[in-house]
């Protein structure tokens, strides 16, 4: 599955990967805030932000092209609205929407690709996200690929039996509903099994991290630099 790739990228090693997840999360939020408050009048406002992101990508030693392509998943939505703006005579505004939404998506992808999921969730919890969400997200992310694989296999099996060309569309509709119900039953069974296994291993409401994260002076320095850079970017595009 394609989503495995983000998990793979997040386990690489680089100066950016080594920073504390809390510092990276806050820096990303600051970056998004500065970009969102920048003027909406022209696409040029997004250029300095994009340059900073490209530099960060370079430091993170992540593959450039796959990341640029992945964050293009925001483009269908943006292009439709940019075209509407352009057709109604607000071309520059449409261009700004397109550029800014793409740069925002790239910034969030950079966070996800340089931070393993457990550390990111731990950072969110220490920044005030309720425990319930963290627990749900942990098991959701862990079993997403398992259940998606089951769904993939079922889809393949139905294709092998001619599932795409039913004689009547309603029969195909009911067949899909039936396979979703079976998928649900299997997920339910698996959820029950996982729950029992976790309880028998002494689970009492929180998953421990393998390495206790520490907020080092270098992380504080990184965060301070991100604050300064965010303010500088914002001022550079608003004062022009």
């Amino acid at each position: 599955m394609r989503h495995h790739r983000i998990a793979g990228w997040s386990l690489l090693d680089s100066p950016l990967h080594r920073r504390d997840a809390r510092a990276k999360l806050l820096a990303t939020l600051l970056f998004l805030l500065a970009l969102a408050l920048a003027p909406q009048s022209s696409a040029l406002a997004a250029v300095p932000f994009a340059l900073v992101l490209l530099a960060a990508l370079f430091f993170a030693r992540l593959p450039l092209l796959p990341l640029l392509l992945r964050s293009a998943s925001v483009l269908p939505f943006s292009i439709v609205f940019a075209l509407i703006e352009w057709a109604s005579g607000h071309g520059p505004h449409g261009g700004a929407l397109l550029a800014k939404s793409y740069v925002s998506a790239l910034a969030v992808l950079l966070l996800a690709a340089s931070t393993p999921m457990p550390s990111l969730l731990h950072a969110m919890e220490s920044l005030g996200v309720p425990r319930a969400f963290v627990l749900i997200a942990q098991s959701l992310f862990r079993y997403l690929f398992v259940i998606a694989e089951v769904a993939q296999r079922m889809r393949l099996a139905s294709l092998c039996r001619g599932g795409t060309s039913p004689l009547r569309p309603s029969a195909g509709f009911r067949a899909s509903a039936g396979s979703l119900a079976v998928l649900f039953a299997r997920s339910q069974q698996r959820a029950h099994g996982i729950h029992m296994a976790m309880l028998s291993r002494g689970f009492h409401g929180s998953l421990p991290l393998a390495v206790r994260p520490r907020f080092r002076p270098s992380d504080a320095g990184f965060l301070a630099a991100a604050c300064a850079l965010g303010a500088a970017l914002y001022l550079s595009v608003t004062l022009r």
Partner: protein, 298 residues
């Protein structure tokens, strides 16, 4: 329906972040105050199921296919409270990991899909619980309609331009996807109940159906009002001009011209006026309801 970052104007996303994130946090803390979190991972697996379920295509005729969105299905399996938690986690996961929807716009997306959509589905299930098939179909349909109309209204309130023809086209698209979601929800819940009906947690016979129907109607009207207020901010004035009513107000209105006289660009005033007007109307309705309920019980 996932709104990316930078499409909403700062007042709109800030207001929706400030409303919906504390609200879902409160739901999470309240529902897990007494328990010790050991059952929570099962909710995560259900969330993974909804994610994976979107890979199974449903033929809807004319060579096209659709997939489940899942809000109403989760309500009929987990009940509304747990569904709010699971849907919020799904929306946040889509924003942070899959770049589907913005991070600053998370409050807006959570409000549309994890709060309004789920509440609409739960109310529909409760209001029509005597007719289970109709209730399931309606639950799927109204959850999609509520989310989609709110998303569109937020975009319009943010000053995104949209010609009327396109507006009608997207409303038609919403209607089609609402019907499809209703049909898929009904078909899947029927298939699940054939496997094991104990997996479902539909509202039981005892309950307050009329109240739920009334609340559902109120919710849908609020969504529609927000939509109309943000797409045609001068609708009343047009009406007044058409019927030659004097444009001089009898009473000085606090939200005159549907825009607050704040310093700043015009869309800011319009968006905050729309939000403030809605909040005022909701507060007035709530106060009236309280008053009537007290008088009836006294």
């Amino acid at each position: 329906m996932h709104i990316p970052d930078n499409f909403l104007s700062p007042p709109v996303w800030l207001a929706l972040d400030a409303i919906s994130l504390p609200l879902v946090g409160w739901v999470a803390r309240r529902s897990f105050r007494d328990s010790d979190h050991t059952a929570t991972p099962r909710l995560g697996v259900m969330g993974a199921f909804v994610f994976a379920a979107q890979m199974i295509n449903f033929p809807v005729g004319a060579g096209t296919s659709a997939h489940l969105l899942g809000g109403a299905l989760l309500v009929s399996i987990l009940g509304p409270t747990a569904t709010v938690l699971v849907m919020t986690t799904i929306v946040a996961m889509q924003a942070f990991v899959f770049q589907d929807g913005g991070v600053l716009a998370l409050g807006a997306n959570v409000f549309n899909m994890a709060l309004a959509g789920v509440v609409a589905a739960a109310l529909a299930l409760r209001a029509f619980r005597r007719f289970p098939s109709a209730a399931l179909f309606l639950a799927g349909a109204v959850s999609v309609l509520a989310s989609a109309f709110l998303a569109l209204a937020e975009l319009l309130a943010s000053g995104v331009h949209m010609p009327p023809a396109l507006l009608w086209a997207s409303i038609g698209l919403f209607a089609v996807s609402a019907v499809v979601e209703g049909a898929i929800t009904l078909a899947v819940v029927r298939a699940v109940s054939r496997l094991n009906s104990r997996w479902l947690s539909l509202p039981s016979q005892a309950g307050r159906g009329p109240l739920a129907a009334f609340s559902l109607a109120a919710l849908l009207m609020a969504v529609a009002a927000f939509f109309v207020a943000s797409s045609q901010p001068d609708g009343l004035q047009t009406l007044a001009a058409r019927f030659h009513i004097s444009s001089q107000p009898i009473l000085p209105a606090p939200l005159a011209g549907y825009s607050m006289s704040l310093a700043g660009p015009p869309w800011l005033g319009r968006a905050s006026a729309a939000l403030a007007g809605l909040l005022l109307a909701a507060a007035a309705c709530l106060a009236l309801g309280r008053f009537l309920a007290r008088r009836r019980s006294a």
